[in-house]
């Protein structure tokens, strides 16, 4: 028998015709696969949606960066019984030097000083986080520039009183980019606003990002000049004085594969010079890896669940096809007596199961697109239906149909024509 498109088309038509003879039965048989495929797509969409957001957030921190943040040691936080005292903690100017000089994989390092101050422009006042840093900061923590210019090397060298604002901060001070060139008063000093960058608001519970919505970036040198290393905070009626040289160091590693080793080296190095653990190291890459691993595990679990539901669907198909073979024994006998070959009988039944599973898969895709849409609409959860999940689940559905259809089809083909003809 030659394979021709016309013949194949006729075989498919015959299959559809036979399935249409038992519409309800065919639909019920398909349901297993419909929900199997639908749930695979829906679950993957929810999983993708949730992890895509987390991954993107981490990725923005820079995969080659290591962020070292000053932390007040645990035993110093309980200072309520002391009216006035000084906590000395955090990263030192020496740390920056030591790290850049001794660890060869460190390519760049950015010192950061952070102070909460109220800033005033014209008549408006805004509580801002003043970030004293240098021009490299904008390279490592990538933020698109919206207007004006960023901090430059000469600003640092000349200790200029200039500030870069975030979009959000700028908007709260004044409506538009017109703030550029205006002066901003922080403490007793005036700064010229030179540029605006896009603000990246970190969502709740996410990793601490090095920037916030209302930041003002000023040259590190200027910050050191104007604020020094002592900070006074008034908390619950107590003046807490702190001596912190550096609040944050952002370290850039030369290659991604060196990130973990470098983080370990930094940890050891700081451990040697700090008696107390007054710093925390966070590695976005490690978090990224962790998030990806979690996502993989999640996908495997989903895959297993989906596999089971498709298996159940497949068993449903097999069950119905076996019943159909028994029911149509006589028809098989007639076809065989007339001269149909075994493989033509196999083809006939297999085409029916493939038509069933393909149709089931298509309807399942519909369900799989609908459920995430409803989830997003009702629960507000982000979902992401990826093309590959559609193709994959349709493919699996058809494969399941073939795998579970082949046995009933073979059974039909192997019937003894004489017996089959006698079957009532």
């Amino acid at each position: 028998m030659k394979l021709s498109p016309g013949r194949f088309y006729r075989d498919v038509q015959l299959g559809i015709k036979n399935l249409m003879l038992h519409k309800l039965r065919s639909c019920l048989t398909m349901l297993g696969l419909v929900f199997g495929v639908g749930s695979v797509i829906a679950m993957l969409a929810v999983g993708e949606g949730a992890s895509a957001e987390a991954l993107e957030q981490i990725r923005r921190l820079g995969s080659r960066n290591i962020i070292i943040t000053a932390q007040k040691p645990a035993d110093e936080q309980d200072a309520a019984n002391v009216r006035v005292r000084i906590s000395i903690y955090g990263l030192l100017y020496e740390d920056e030097q030591r790290l850049s000089e001794t660890i060869p994989t460190v390519s760049r390092i950015v010192p950061v000083k952070m102070v909460q101050k109220s800033a005033r422009m014209g008549k408006r006042t805004l509580e801002m986080r003043i970030v004293g840093t240098n021009h490299v900061w904008f390279d490592l923590v990538q933020r698109p520039k919206i207007a004006g210019r960023l901090l430059e090397r000469r600003d640092i060298d000349e200790r200029s009183n200039v500030a870069v604002l975030t979009e959000h901060g700028a908007r709260r001070l004044m409506a538009t980019e017109a703030v550029i060139g205006e002066s901003l008063r922080i403490g007793s000093n005036y700064y010229e606003i030179i540029g605006i960058v896009r603000s990246e608001g970190a969502s709740e519970g996410a990793m601490q990002t090095p920037d916030q919505q209302t930041d003002a970036y000023i040259p590190f040198t200027a910050a050191r000049d104007h604020f020094g290393d002592f900070f006074t905070q008034n908390k619950a009626g107590t003046n807490i004085r702190e001596l912190v040289e550096l609040h944050q160091l952002i370290v850039e590693v030369d290659k991604e594969e060196h990130v973990e080793a470098t983080a370990a080296a930094i940890e050891r190095m700081l451990g040697m010079f700090h008696k107390k653990k007054d710093y925390g190291i966070s590695v976005p890459l490690a978090l990224l890896r962790q998030a990806e691993a979690t996502k993989r595990t999640f996908n495997i679990v989903l895959g297993a669940i989906a596999g089971i539901s498709l298996l159940v669907g497949g068993i449903g198909i097999m069950n119905i096809m076996l019943a159909s073979v028994t029911e149509r024994t006589r028809e098989i006998g007639i076809r065989r007596a007339i001269g149909a070959k075994q493989r033509q009988i196999i083809a006939q039944f297999l085409i029916e199961t493939v038509v069933l599973s393909f149709t089931g898969g298509l309807v399942g895709i519909g369900v799989g697109l609908f459920i995430p849409w409803v989830i997003t609409l009702v629960a507000g959860m982000p979902t992401m239906v990826s093309m590959y999940s559609l193709v994959l689940s349709l493919g699996i559905s058809v494969t399941v149909g073939m795998v579970f259809g082949i046995y009933p089809a073979m059974r039909a083909a192997r019937l003894d024509p004489i017996e089959a003809l006698r079957h009532e």
Binding site: I334, R335, G339, K341
Partner: protein
């Protein structure tokens, strides 16, 4: 009518020392016990015998639905007793036409589709199949029933459809298994007369029956008993 000496090619079917032995536990059942027979072309044969005489086995072997335990079966001079399932299917498709007692039409197909079913497996185009089905329907007098389903037809009409189907591949011979067994006597006569007419037009027919009234329409009768040929008449 004087008979000339016949060549192997003159025979539709030649059976040579055919055995079919079933093993039931330790017992051997000799369904066919050394059968040799020549069925000449253009003839109308009736195979007769009581139940258990081996005529069903004979029918299955003649119809290439089964293979003999030993012996040879020549179909138009070709030995088909050694063929496998696939090749036998091909023989049935190209050279045989079946007519059954219970008609054996496929209920979900129309009359036209039933008639053309062998042509479907022969790979004919839709147009060719339709044309052939129409001319065959006309031959059996059912040209106005082509769109009907078998269940909408009477027994006699269904058997006519079956005959048309059996003729569709222009077989070497028609094999009829009790073709009138499910019909009343009037309809039986119509069917047997149709077969007779086909035979007169040159079609070889081998019919298995246990009814002498029907068998008498055949030109030759072969009587079987206990797996052997008892006698041949005509």
């Amino acid at each position: 009518m004087t008979e000339a000496i016949k060549q192997p090619g003159d025979y539709a079917v030649q059976l040579v020392d055919l055995y079919k032995i079933y093993k039931m536990g330790t017992q051997e059942v000799r369904a066919l016990d050394g059968v040799s027979a020549d069925f000449d072309k253009g003839s109308f044969w009736a195979i007769m015998g009581p139940s258990g005489s081996g005529k069903s086995t004979m029918l299955n072997l003649l119809g290439c639905l089964d293979r003999p335990t030993s012996g040879s079966y020549y179909l138009s001079g070709r030995d088909v007793s050694i063929l496998d399932d696939n090749e036998l299917s091909d023989i049935r498709l190209k050279y045989l036409g079946f007519i059954f007692q219970s008609f054996n039409l496929i209920p979900q197909l129309t009359v036209e589709e039933n008639i053309a079913l062998p042509l479907y497996y022969l790979g004919w185009s839709a147009k060719e199949r339709t044309d052939r089905a129409h001319s065959l329907a006309k031959l059996v007098g059912l040209e106005d029933r082509l769109r009907h389903r078998p269940t909408e037809l009477s027994g006699g009409q269904q058997q006519r459809v079956a005959i048309a189907r059996a003729l569709s591949n222009d077989p070497v011979f028609l094999l009829a298994d009790e073709p009138t067994g499910n019909l009343d006597s009037a309809t039986s006569m119509e069917i047997i007369e149709l077969l007779q007419k086909l035979n007169q037009e040159g079609k070889t027919i081998i019919m298995v029956t246990h009814e002498p009234d029907i068998a008498k329409f055949a030109r030759k009768r072969l009587y079987m008993r206990d797996g052997k040929i008892q006698k041949v008449e005509g």
